[in-house]
């Protein structure tokens, strides 16, 4: 039996809505908690797919007999569970901040993702059961599944721009229920009384959802996020909230207790701060819009922060502010008389706040003739512009290592050797780059930044030891790099500025150790020691001996905030009772914890039922070796598919720049092409399934080899194009790869469908479990070895899959014949 067009459309919509739900959960959890937990919770929630496989494998005969009811039942449950699971999960007292203190939090964590796995379980039941029921149409079904997911990935981004994030939680169930209604009405699978019953049920569910859900859908933002904390202050209120795929921006006003945002302000400053409005991104990461009316006197404090250092050296005509945000650095540049400021900000809604909503409050800052606002990702702007600058400044951009290394798993292309080269390329002779960061103690961020910059400077014939300056306040460190040699006049200005505001000298050419560590004393002059060592011949040894990972970050391993080192773990653990938890780079460890949880869950939920099931029917089971092969084959595919996808997403994000659009484009491109591959593999009946898989894997190997080896020239070529051709060409490059990746799954599934249909749900489940582990493993591999290695591992897994292609080894001749259709 083949599925009809209506059925295929339903599968596409279910698949799309489920993928959209996954992205939505990521956004919601980033808002109510923190991004890294969101990532882990959601990746583990996908276990629902694996559990569904097991469920279908054990109950397939029963559910298959009641196919139409089971499909509709799951569809209704999927719709209901989408908002309910989230509401239930956010009602739990799960507090990631307490994870290291309270073992009960581990339990809550587990419960959170079990609850969130429920909608994925229902969605996977619909798709898995359909694959089993329509086994002759597997390639077409799988193609609809992938096509739907592709559209879902685009759709959710569009939705996130137009409606509030919590409202989407109600849109998706509606979409599911509507497509269900359409299917029941037009498909011959439902008839007579059953049809009426399901139509009524779907309508009632829609009505119930409409009437009861919206009122109860309040986001329960963690009380430990900075927005929640600020809102406990009397007469503090959220003035405005804007939502997009880049995050939720909240503008907050505090009437009784004024906001005072001045990071890096000198301890000697006595300046009164002007009126400010706080801007939070995802209820955290506060910045401030400062009131400005053309008078620079109230901004005097901006000259008393460590980031004001480069302005002491000379007048800056052309200034590039990367990550302009709410405008502090732009105001600072204006105050120091910059005549041309390029302010680069990625988030259009942030720009909107300054240009429209609070334009008057901010003194029309982003509309001033000296200020040119560019809505762009920082590195993208740097790679496109040809302009040269006196100063490129970046303050508090997301290199932050504070927070126990929780951002370690995030790729960050702003602080890599390659990006530093890009910034250096745009300096006028004698120009400066200035980077201000929050201090980490013991130092991690700055030593890594210095190591990364020093590596980048080698291509410019700049001697880092003659071009670097580092100062620090009690809370911030400012690194200045000159395109040239730092001269005596600059050194004397540096000394005056530091002396005046109690900033500590941490490095300048010719500095002695005695000059360090005067005002803000560390146990040893760590910063001076680190910079001198990193700029000397001992650099490699110093990096090896340092207790945190301060290897320069590169585009191949863009994990700037990954400071974890295994060697340091025993020492930190031995100090745990004394409170050394803050030294643990817990992001990395949490990632490992997530992997262990996924493995344990797989063992309990997949292998245990498999083992019990086989024990029960051992005497009847004739094809045991096949089980192992099916298990291994689909596991390898599950891992490899996402490895390749994740690695190439990263490679293309770098070329396409804008993280949100780039990721969406690449995912959609992959899925569309894989859908086409799947569809075509079903059509090419004259070609043996195994040969199809071998050919697909060979083409993938060749393509990957070409892409990896000529990545520099490909990216160079693409970067020279304007946006549209760049995106189109990138999609054209992704498509053949995706096309091949779409073949191995349905080819083997179809084979199973013809000969061992009882294995289909198993294969579906195994693939689901592998997909849970894949992103976590991919991140760990990329952190340790880089994306190139990740691609190689993925290709080896595909090769392994080729060897394991599940022909029935107990019945060689029959098995072989069955492959010829």
């Amino acid at each position: 039996m083949h599925p009809g067009a209506g059925y295929l459309l339903t599968i596409a919509v279910i698949s799309g809505a489920t993928l959209a739900y996954e992205v939505l959960l990521l956004r919601l959890f980033s808002l109510i908690q923190w991004h890294h937990f969101a990532f882990m919770v959601i990746s583990l929630a996908l276990l629902g797919y694996g559990v569904s496989g097991v469920f279908l494998a054990l109950a397939r005969q029963h559910v298959s007999r009641h196919f139409s009811s089971v499909i509709m039942g799951n569809l209704v449950l999927l719709a209901l569970s989408m908002p309910l699971s989230f509401m239930l999960a956010q009602a739990l007292p799960f507090n990631p901040a307490e994870l290291l203190w309270d073992p009960r939090q581990l339990f809550y964590w587990l419960v959170v993702y079990l609850i969130l796995a429920v909608p994925f379980f229902f969605a996977a039941n619909i798709i898995g059961l359909s694959l089993y029921q329509f086994r002759r149409g597997i390639p077409t079904l799988y193609a609809s599944d992938l096509l739907g997911a592709a559209l879902g990935s685009i759709g959710i981004i569009a939705l996130l721009f137009v409606i509030d994030v919590e409202q989407i939680l109600l849109v998706l169930p509606y979409l599911v229920l509507l497509i269900g209604l359409l299917l029941v009405t037009q498909s011959p699978l439902w008839s007579g009384r059953q049809k009426t019953l399901w139509q009524a049920s779907l309508l009632v569910t829609m009505a119930v959802t409409l009437f009861f859900m919206p009122a109860s859908l309040q986001l329960n933002v963690s009380s430990y996020k900075s927005l929640s904390q600020m809102l406990t202050v009397p007469e503090t209120q959220v003035l405005q909230r804007k939502s997009s795929p880049l995050g939720v921006l909240s503008v907050v006003e505090s009437r009784q207790v004024p906001l005072r945002y001045a990071p890096g302000l000198s301890i000697l400053s006595d300046a009164e701060l002007p009126e400010q409005l706080a801007v939070f991104t995802d209820a955290d990461a506060m910045s401030a819009i400062t009131r400005f009316d053309g008078d620079y006197e109230p901004l005097r404090f901006m000259g008393q922060t460590s980031s004001a250092l480069p302005y002491q050296f000379k007048p800056m005509q052309d200034v590039l502010v990367l990550g302009a945000g709410a405008g502090s650095d732009v105001l600072q540049a204006l105050m120091f008389d910059a005549s041309h400021i390029d302010a680069v900000e990625e988030n259009p809604q942030m720009i909107g706040l300054l240009q429209d909503d609070y334009a008057d409050f901010a003194g029309k800052l982003y509309k001033l003739p000296q200020v040119n606002v560019h809505q762009s990702e920082a590195r993208a702007f740097a790679s496109k512009t040809e302009r040269q600058y006196d100063l490129i400044t970046m303050s508090f951009m997301s290199a932050a290592g504070a927070g126990g290394g929780l951002f370690s798993m995030n790729e960050n292309y702003l602080f890599t050797v390659e990006s530093m080269r890009e910034y250096l390329r745009h300096l006028k002779p004698g120009g400066y780059i200035s980077i201000t960061q929050q201090n980490t103690h013991p130092p991690r961020v700055m030593p890594k930044l210095v190591a990364t910059l020093a590596e980048a400077m080698q291509s410019f014939r700049l001697a880092p030891s003659q071009s670097l300056i580092l100062i620090r306040s009690w809370q911030t460190t400012t690194l200045v790099v000159k395109n040239g040699t730092v001269n005596q006049e600059e050194i004397s200005q540096l000394k005056q500025f530091s002396e005046r505001y109690n900033f500590d000298l941490a490095y300048y050419p010719g500095m002695t150790e005695q000059e360090a560590n005067r005002f803000h004393r560390l146990k040893q002059p760590y910063f001076y020691q680190a910079v001198t060592a990193l700029l000397s011949e001992n650099k490699a040894q110093f990096i090896a001996d340092y207790k945190f990972n301060i290897e320069p970050a590169t585009d191949n391993q863009p994990y700037f905030s990954q400071f974890f080192k295994w060697e340091t773990l025993p020492e930190i653990l031995s100090l745990l009772d004394a409170g050394s938890i803050f030294l643990l780079e817990s992001g990395y460890l949490l990632l490992l914890a997530a992997l262990v949880q996924a493995l344990v869950a797989s063992l309990v939920l997949l292998l245990l039922p498999l083992w019990l099931w086989r024990r029960r029917r051992r005497d009847r089971d004739e094809a045991q070796p096949l089980h192992k092969r099916v298990l291994a084959y689909f596991f390898a595919l599950g891992l490899a598919f996402l490895f390749v996808e994740i690695a190439f997403i990263q490679k293309f994000v770098l070329i396409l720049h804008h993280p949100v659009y780039a990721v969406t484009t690449v995912i959609a491109g992959f899925l569309l092409a894989a859908g086409a591959g799947s569809y075509l593999s079903g059509r090419l009946r004259m070609v043996q399934a195994r040969i199809q898989v071998v050919a697909a894997v060979l083409v993938m190997i060749v393509l990957s080899a070409v892409y990896i080896s000529s990545y520099a020239s490909i990216s160079g070529f693409l970067l020279a194009q304007s946006d549209l051709p760049r995106y189109l060409l990138a999609i054209l490059m992704i498509m053949p790869l995706g096309f091949c990746m779409g073949i191995p799954f349905p080819a083997a599934m179809s084979m199973l469908g013809r000969e061992h249909d009882e294995m289909i749900p198993w294969a579906w489940g195994i693939n689901g479990f592998a997909s849970v582990m894949s992103p976590i493993l991919a991140t760990l591999i990329a952190m340790e070895f880089g994306f190139r290695v990740l691609i190689v591992v993925a290709l080896l897994l595909y090769l392994l899959a080729v060897c394991l292609f599940p022909t029935d080894s107990t019945k060689p001749s029959a098995g072989h014949n069955q492959l010829n259709v």
Binding site: S228, N439, W474, K523, G579, F582
Partner: protein, 249 residues
């Protein structure tokens, strides 16, 4: 009928519950006292090698005595009372915590207090830190920005007899002008810069302590010292003994 394991455990739970209820307040207080003393001993041992002990070999005995005296459980919300004498921060609502006892001990130790000192605290929170300070000095002034917390802490301090702590609800940014100058200031509320007025309200040779980090994880302590000539120097101290470098460089 034989008793099932389930029934057995249920019976033991009931017995345990009854035992707990039948404990007299005196017994419970004794129990807490023992736990407290054990915790303080443990902290003293753990912190022996901390960076924040500076030149001393161990925590000031006066601080240890104060830690052994203040009933932390009286400042902990009911549902966390049983965890009062674990060396960990505990939630007190409003996104705030009662600090980890080891950190309280270190911060108090860093202030090097004399009995006649006047101390200002910015961020009363649970009131526990103020109570520890009140064991050591004659007058503690404490400001809390969240009205509900300010009210609760004031009640708890009064109930536990710490009449020498004077609390106020308000903005700590400008310090407590009428009572200035202070010998020591402790800023437990997060700050992205040190309010200039607070520094002004610190006496020459006075000390200020600021914990840096999140509610559940203090990353380091900043000790601000005002010299005799009113120069300002800070020290950034780790709660543990940890040097980021190995070998000689």
């Amino acid at each position: 009928m034989t008793r099932t394991p389930f029934l057995n455990s249920a019976v033991s739970l009931v017995v345990m519950a009854l035992t707990c209820f039948s404990l007299s307040p005196v017994q419970a207080d004794d129990d807490f006292k023992q736990q407290r003393e054990a915790l303080v001993e443990e902290i003293a041992e753990d912190l022996r090698s901390s960076d924040a002990i500076l030149d001393q070999s161990e925590l000031d005995p006066k601080v240890l005595k104060a830690m052994k005296t203040v009933p932390r459980h009286e400042f902990v919300p009911e549902k966390h009372k049983h965890q009062s004498y674990r060396n960990r921060p505990l939630p007190i609502g409003y996104g705030q915590t009662i600090s980890q006892p080891a950190i309280v001990a270190l911060m108090t130790n860093l202030l090097e207090l004399e009995t006649a000192d006047k101390v200002l605290e910015i961020g009363t929170g649970s009131g526990y830190q103020a109570a520890v300070l009140a064991e050591l000095v004659e007058k503690v002034y404490s400001i809390e920005i969240v009205p509900e917390l300010a009210e609760r802490a004031a009640e708890d301090l009064k109930r536990t007899g710490y009449d020498n702590v004077i609390t106020r609800h308000g903005d700590g940014y400008y310090g407590w002008e009428e009572q200035a100058p202070f010998d020591a200031i402790i800023v437990t509320a997060a700050a992205d810069h040190i309010p200039p007025r607070l520094l002004k309200q610190l006496k020459p040779e006075g000390r200020m302590v600021i914990p840096v980090g999140s509610r559940f994880m203090v990353q380091h302590l900043v000790l601000v010292k005002k010299t005799e000539d009113s120069d300002i120097i800070t020290e950034q101290l780790l709660p543990v003994q940890f040097v980021p470098l190995t070998g000689e460089h």
